[in-house]
């Protein structure tokens, strides 16, 4: 888990990478490769394969750093999302090369991400975040893990778990809303995030 100062410094490092500074890429790797590796390994369950994914993702980051917009999210979340997308491709038996990364969906939002939330996330440890996940009802946790780590669509989740489509979609929505609410109650939470409805 990185700290807010690191988030700020990542913007500087991204600029250095943009200017062709290979050492800056090395610094970004040193900061975030372990997080990227954790995601890749969790998804593909193969250390060698996970390392290949991390390697290829950082090469893509080097090549396509111009596509990273610090106003739209952190470098860390961009990296993790690229790795996650590639790992899901690997899991599904497709080639990662057809995906490349305009990875962070938040870039599509006109309002952009909530930077305060990113800082709050950065202040929380993985243990606290796992605890928040553990507090979710089993079926909700199962649904979001099938989606994020298993690469399953909500339609596939509905089939796998034997529930209607609306229920599967609702579990994903509700799980994220509960996570948001749960983390909003921590000292690290951003004040700008309002409590969500629990539909």
């Amino acid at each position: 888990m990185t700290d807010p100062a690191t988030l700020h410094d990542d913007g500087v490092l991204a600029q250095r990478i943009r200017s062709g500074d290979r050492d800056a890429l090395g610094e970004v790797y040193d900061r975030h490769a372990s997080a990227a590796m954790a995601v890749a390994l969790r998804i593909v369950a193969d250390r060698e394969g996970a390392e290949d994914l991390v390697h290829d993702a950082f090469v893509a980051i080097w090549q396509k750093i111009d596509r990273f917009d610090p106003a739209r999210g952190s470098l860390r979340s961009w990296i993790v999302t690229i790795v996650r997308n590639r790992a899901i491709d690997r899991l599904r038996g497709t080639r990662p090369s057809i995906e490349i990364g305009e990875a962070d969906e938040r870039a599509l939002l006109r309002s952009g991400p909530n930077p305060t939330w990113e800082s709050a996330m950065a202040r929380l440890g993985s243990i606290q975040l796992r605890a928040a996940l553990d507090e979710l009802p089993t079926e909700q946790r199962q649904a979001i893990e099938l989606a994020y780590f298993g690469g399953r669509t909500y339609r596939e989740i509905a089939t796998l778990t034997g529930v209607p489509l609306g229920t599967a979609n609702g579990r994903l929505r509700l799980a994220l809303a509960r996570l948001r609410d749960r983390l909003s109650q921590t000292d690290a939470a951003p004040v700008a995030i309002s409590a969500g409805d629990d539909r």
Binding site: A35, M37, P96, S97, E99, Y148, F149, L176, R180
Partner: protein, 250 residues
């Protein structure tokens, strides 16, 4: 899929944030977001909350030699923003093969190739060339839909894929190829890991939406695909690449 309403997008916020939509739905959400000027509070909150999934994992340090391998790779890997020295005039983009997530990119690529096949968008005078391109297009569609290797290439001259179909060789598919002066051609190159280029074909300006050319060599043993602008076919590139793509390990 038809257009989505603002409410429908918000209702799919969780699935979108977790990458759990079907390709058609994901495209519809992205299309909505591209045009919608309203705020999407639930979607924004869901995307932020989804970060918990990755951040909840205990970090796993990679092996010690991975960093060395990475640094060795980028030593020989150019950046996108450092490619073009010779920049042909770019046609307005049509948005094909746009920059989407993996689930969306594949059906889009298939649709683009299928559309070209369906309307006969290329029009060559020589039957052999028609057959050659027809075969290449079918190979591309089959390759992409079958999960074969498709390596993204792009630069000032256009964007597309190099698609490798075992037993049939590799083909370049480019959308919106930039115009060239009449006395210039595009020359295609494969580079081995040591950086040595091998000429694998040429391409001229075209008015077609999609240009396809079969490469004269398969991709085995090569790590980079490049395109340069030349006055005529030459044995070694004379300038900086106007399109580049990194191929998978050979």
């Amino acid at each position: 899929m038809s257009e989505m309403t603002h409410q429908q997008v918000e209702e799919l916020a969780g699935a979108f944030a977790l990458g759990a939509l079907d390709p058609e739905e994901e495209m519809a959400v992205r299309a909505h977001l591209a045009d919608c000027r309203e705020a999407h509070p639930e979607l924004e909150a869901a995307l932020s909350a989804a970060m918990v999934m990755a951040e909840s994992l205990e970090p796993v340090p990679p092996s010690a030699d991975l960093r060395d391998r990475l640094m060795a790779t980028i030593e020989r890997t150019p950046q996108e923003n450092r490619q073009p020295v010779t920049e042909p005039q770019k046609k307005p983009g049509r948005g094909w093969l746009d920059w989407f997530s993996p689930r969306v990119a594949r059906p889009l690529a298939i649709a683009a190739v299928a559309a070209v096949i369906a309307v006969g968008a290329w029009n060559l005078s020589l039957q052999s060339q028609v057959e050659q391109r027809d075969a290449a297009l079918r190979a591309v569609a089959d390759a992409i839909s079958g999960g074969q290797a498709a390596f993204r290439v792009e630069g000032a001259a256009g964007r597309g894929y190099v698609v490798d179909t075992p037993g049939e060789g590799a083909a370049l598919v480019v959308t919106d190829l930039a115009d060239l002066p009449p006395d210039r051609i595009y020359e295609l190159w494969l580079l081995n890991p040591a950086g040595a280029p091998v000429a694998v074909g040429i391409l001229t300006s075209t008015d077609e939406a999609v240009a396809v050319v079969q490469l004269e060599r398969d991709l085995s043993g090569f790590s980079i695909f490049a395109v340069t602008v030349e006055a005529e076919r030459v044995a070694a590139p004379s300038g900086e690449p106007v399109m580049l793509g990194v191929l998978g390990s050979s």
